[in-house]
């Protein structure tokens, strides 16, 4: 299968290792990965903050960047290592196209709604693609996933409630060789990120974060995995600020599901110190 | 313009003309052809209904006893012997043992017992119109064997008879048997509150003891 990678802006600029890990996983399964060069961002931050007008060019760009490859057969599906970005592509893009039209915006494009829907329908979140489309049921056997250590998992809200990912990510984690997955108390509670909420209501966001950090550290896990880099940056930023460490004295980290699945015997992800996957994709 | 006319005009203005009166009824509870989508019958037999109702009432910390209709008068007698109690005038006379005559005060719409007097009584005994097993709910509808709403409210101990044929399985079956224009009281256990730290405490202003006798 030919798969377009939507890296998402934050992974592209801040966490390239997450996109690299995604590429590794998909290539290990024998699929061809394409990176549509025009891509930038899904526009979720603008949309959720009420900046519909400013979101419009971002959404237009995303649709333009991905639709051509679908039409030409360069790829069959698109995947992003982010539940919230996929939720935005699937649920919000057509909406903002409609908004622009009905509001008589200068940039309004009568074709955008249908085009956005077409792209949204073929866009998957990583655990969704792996489980539902690519048939991964055993990460160790099918991906060679190996990671010695203890990990917990935070299900980000948009993946959980807008995409209904259910136990897909956890099922994948549980089949990683040598990995001990421990349950996170109050897992379904929001971490407090919420995009610009983290800035506009910084006090409430910080209070939510403090509880999430306490719950993570209470598990004794060396890292907290997740499927949304933005939430992980927020949680990781809190762990770092509080200087949280494991009983062994190493910092408690956040790590993306893709990084865990990409970890192998030959090239294991390390929880302590540098988290980057040496070597990159092959 | 009167407030009435103005508010109605606002409502009409608020709803785009095309939307007013759109027949969304089919998707509502009255959906004739499609059906409502939720359960409308439980399919439970009498034994199962009684068992479920008893379980739910006990969960609310009501007292419950199941008796045969022959044993009903005796069951009521053991609860009310030596007590002053009110009974509605339509309560079947066969339910009240002659030994209870002394403590009985009779109430009716025509000759209502004063509320202060009701407050001095120990108990009330009534029948009931419908009971819903799944939710442990007993409904009084003001029929002559259930009386005015005040009598089942003010005394602290409510002895309530549930004739077995009035038990249904689930909420829609219950409402189907009721006339909404009668004064209805749905009772699910003794009065309770969850206002202190969301913890349920039984017994506030309504009767603190709910004593249910299921007669089959």
């Amino acid at each position: 299968m030919k798969i377009a990678l939507f890296a998402t802006c934050i992974v592209d600029a801040m966490y390239p290792r997450v996109a690299q890990a995604t590429v590794q996983i998909l290539e290990r399964l024998g699929h061809k990965v394409v990176f549509p060069a025009g891509q930038a961002c899904c526009g979720q931050m603008h949309l959720n903050s009420g900046y519909f007008r400013e979101a419009l060019p971002v959404v237009e760009n995303h649709v333009r960047a991905f639709e051509a490859g679908f039409d030409s057969g360069d790829y069959d599906v698109a995947v992003a290592p982010s539940g919230s970005c996929v939720a935005s592509v699937k649920h919000q893009h057509a909406m903002v196209a409609r908004w622009a039209l009905e509001r008589g915006e200068k940039r309004a494009d009568p074709t955008l709604e249908a085009r956005a829907e077409a792209v949204g329908e073929r866009t998957y979140e990583l655990s969704q693609l792996l489980t539902d489309v690519l048939g991964v049921t055993d990460a160790a056997a099918q991906l060679g996933s190996y990671l010695p250590g203890t990990i917990t998992y935070h299900p980000s809200c948009h993946g959980m409630r807008l995409l209904r990912l259910g136990d897909r990510p956890l099922s994948l984690l549980r089949t990683v060789e040598a990995l001990d997955v421990v349950a996170l108390p109050e897992a379904d509670q929001c971490c407090g990120f919420g995009g610009t909420f983290s800035i506009k209501n910084a006090d409430v966001s910080s209070a939510m974060l403090a509880d999430k950090v306490a719950n993570i550290c209470g598990t004794g896990a060396g890292a907290c995995a997740g499927g949304d880099v933005s939430c992980l940056m927020h949680i990781g930023g809190g762990l770092s600020r509080e200087g949280r460490t494991t009983t062994a004295g190493t910092p408690v980290r956040t790590v993306h599901l893709a990084e865990v699945l990409a970890s192998t015997h030959e090239n294991p992800l390390r929880f302590d110190g540098e988290l980057a996957l040496a070597g990159g994709a092959r | 313009m009167s407030a009435r006319d103005e508010i109605l005009a606002r409502v009409r203005e608020a709803l785009a003309p095309a939307e007013v009166g759109s027949p969304a009824a089919e998707v509502g509870s009255g959906g004739a052809e499609v059906g409502p989508g939720y359960r409308t019958a439980s399919g439970l037999d009498e034994d199962a209904l009684v068992e479920l109702l008893v379980d739910r009432l006990l969960d609310y910390r009501a007292r419950v006893e199941v008796v045969t209709s022959d044993g009903l008068a005796e069951a009521i007698r053991t609860r009310l012997e030596g007590k002053r109690f009110v009974a509605p005038d339509g309560l079947p006379t066969s339910w009240l043992h002659p030994s209870l005559a002394e403590g009985r005060v009779t109430d009716s719409r025509e000759a209502p017992v004063d509320v202060v007097r009701l407050d001095e009584l120990d108990a009330v005994v009534t029948s009931s119109a419908v009971s819903i097993a799944e939710t442990g709910t007993i409904v009084l509808d003001g029929s002559p064997d259930q009386g005015r709403r005040a009598i089942s409210l003010v005394p602290d101990h409510h002895v309530c008879v549930v004739p077995v044929q009035t038990i249904v399985g689930i909420v829609p079956e219950g409402f189907a048997r009721l006339d909404p224009t009668r004064p209805l009281t749905l009772i699910s256990g003794p009065s309770a509150t969850s206002d202190i730290e969301l913890e349920r405490v039984e017994g506030v202003h309504g009767p603190r003891t709910l004593d249910v006798i299921i007669a089959r």
Binding site: P36, G237 | G28
Partner: protein, 506 residues
């Protein structure tokens, strides 16, 4: 967000007028939240209470195999009721009147208060007992009557706690949720004249103290005031759902009963109760059924109040109704499930929202009732991380996150005028404007990413940024920013592709 649609204004006149009363924030939410977050006791009380009720709700909801079908039905009935509102209201009026009741209409809070006052005056009484009612909280009835020499006694335990404590409700179901048992005992010891000085903080003892305190009031009251959970158009029936029996006392013993009900509470058919009487108790107190529900239709000769009134209240409801994107907020049945599951409410409590309606539903309902352009409520739609727990819990499936986002859009773009409210752009406007430019082209983003090594160098040797200026200061208040990578994924990919190409050519 699938239904958001912002057409041109349909109201040349500016639409139905806004509501007034206790439906506005008194200060911006972040400021109020900051203060409330500082109260450790409050947070402990709220955390305990919301977690208790969440678990109870989950347990009884998961018992019903048809819960989702019931939610669908509840949502459909409410949608139908809204679209048929003119017809249903007049039908309700006809039926209620035919069965011996009197219907009054109130355009806003002030008119409703005036009507209630006149009805009380006509009885010659100066004391009334009250059943907990959101509508009368909304219009500020108690304060209004108090100023005019009429004492209104709240009889719901939590409302009593709030009233005795000279406090404000912070939750729509459990108005004293912010108080724990010890605080409640202290209020009772201080404010109840005949209370046992040995009163402990055991909930049962506290409930008994309330029983004793209110008993005489109930038995002597001539006038009662209530709200209503439902009004049935088909029959003119009103319903109150309660637990303690204070509702039954008020609805049964007095001679005069005055009910204040929002016009959106009307349901088409009596049969609809079979849906809402399953949805409401399980969603609100987490019980299979609440202890008591009273249904009455006008006056019943010889049983209960003979002088029966209902005041149908608009107070901004038609304004909310006119907003086709926010309209479904009027479907709310006041169960409080959304606030019980809300991570923001759990930490700030209800007072931070200012309005009678706190939590997620309040964050949309309050601005819709006052009009979204009302400055005082403009911070409420942002009081959410959009986690979506409220939507999942809502028994009538109000898509609260979607309406929050819609209202943010109205705030940013100045509502239906399409003009921004603020004359000067805010820091957020500037930041997101610039981000829009950068993020609407792969080339532009790629160009900016060339600066990553510089940013990485700025982070220094500990590879984190702990203090940012401007908007970023909100972020670094509690979180570090990791050092950026030395190159973007885009850059890495380009190099990899080039190498691969070289490989195939060699």
């Amino acid at each position: 967000m699938s239904t958001v649609n912002l057409g041109l204004p349909r109201f040349p006149s500016g639409g139905p007028p806004r509501g007034f009363g206790n439906i506005s924030a008194t200060e911006p939410f972040p400021k109020a939240a900051h203060r409330e977050l500082g109260n450790a006791q409050l947070r402990a009380n709220l955390g305990h209470a919301t977690h208790t009720i969440r678990d109870k709700r989950l347990r009884v909801v998961s018992e019903l195999p048809d819960w989702e079908a019931l939610r669908e039905a509840g949502s459909a009935i409410k949608t139908e009721a809204m679209t048929r509102l003119p017809e249903l209201l007049t039908q309700f009026e006809e039926q209620f009147t035919a069965r011996g009741g009197t219907v009054h209409w109130a355009r806003d809070a002030a008119e409703a208060n005036r009507i209630v006052e006149e009805l009380i005056r006509a009885t010659g009484e100066t004391e009334v007992v009250k059943v907990k009612s959101m509508a009368t909280q909304e219009i500020g009835l108690n304060e209004y009557l108090d100023e005019r020499g009429i004492a209104a006694f709240e009889t719901d335990l939590a409302e009593l706690i709030v009233q005795l404590g000279h406090d404000k409700p912070s939750h729509i179901l459990v108005p004293a949720i912010h108080k724990n048992r010890t605080e409640i005992r202290d209020i009772f010891l201080e404010e109840m004249p005949d209370v046992d000085p040995e009163l402990t903080d055991e909930p049962r003892r506290l409930a008994m103290a309330a029983r004793a305190h209110l008993r005489k009031k109930f038995l002597s009251a001539k006038v009662a005031i209530s709200g209503a959970n439902f009004g049935i158009a088909e029959t003119g029936t009103l319903g109150v759902v309660e637990s303690e029996g204070n509702g039954r006392m008020c609805l049964t013993l007095p001679e005069t009963l005055i009910t204040v009900m929002g016009i959106e509470k009307v349901l088409p058919r009596a049969q609809d109760l079979e849906v809402f009487m399953q949805l409401l108790p399980r969603s609100s107190t987490g019980e299979r059924m609440n202890p008591y529900t009273s249904l009455w239709t006008g006056a019943t000769p010889g049983d209960g109040p003979q002088n029966v009134h209902v005041v149908l209240l608009d107070n901004g409801r038609t304004r909310a109704l006119a907003d086709q994107h926010g309209r479904s907020a009027l479907h709310c049945i006041r169960c409080s499930a959304c606030m019980n599951v809300c991570p923001v409410y759990e930490r700030t409590g209800g007072h931070a929202y200012g309005s009678t309606y706190p939590g997620p539903i309040g964050a949309i309902l309050s601005p819709l009732l006052t009009g979204v352009e009302a400055e005082e409520n403009s911070s409420l739609p942002y009081a959410s991380s959009l986690c979506g727990a409220c939507f999942d819990a809502c028994p009538v499936k109000i898509n609260i996150p979607e309406i929050l986002v819609y209202l943010r859009g109205e705030d940013v773009s100045g509502g239906t005028t399409g003009r921004r409210r603020r004359s000067l752009p805010s820091q957020m406007d500037l930041a997101l404007g610039a981000a829009s430019w950068a993020l609407s082209s792969g080339d532009r983003l790629g160009l900016l990413e060339k600066g990553l090594p510089v940013a990485r160098a700025l982070a220094g040797r500990d590879e984190k940024i702990s203090r940012l200026p401007g908007l970023g200061a909100g972020w670094t208040q509690s979180r570090d920013v990791p050092a950026p990578p030395s190159e973007s994924f885009r850059n890495w990919w380009r190099k990899r592709e080039k190498e691969a190409e070289k490989g195939t050519h060699e």
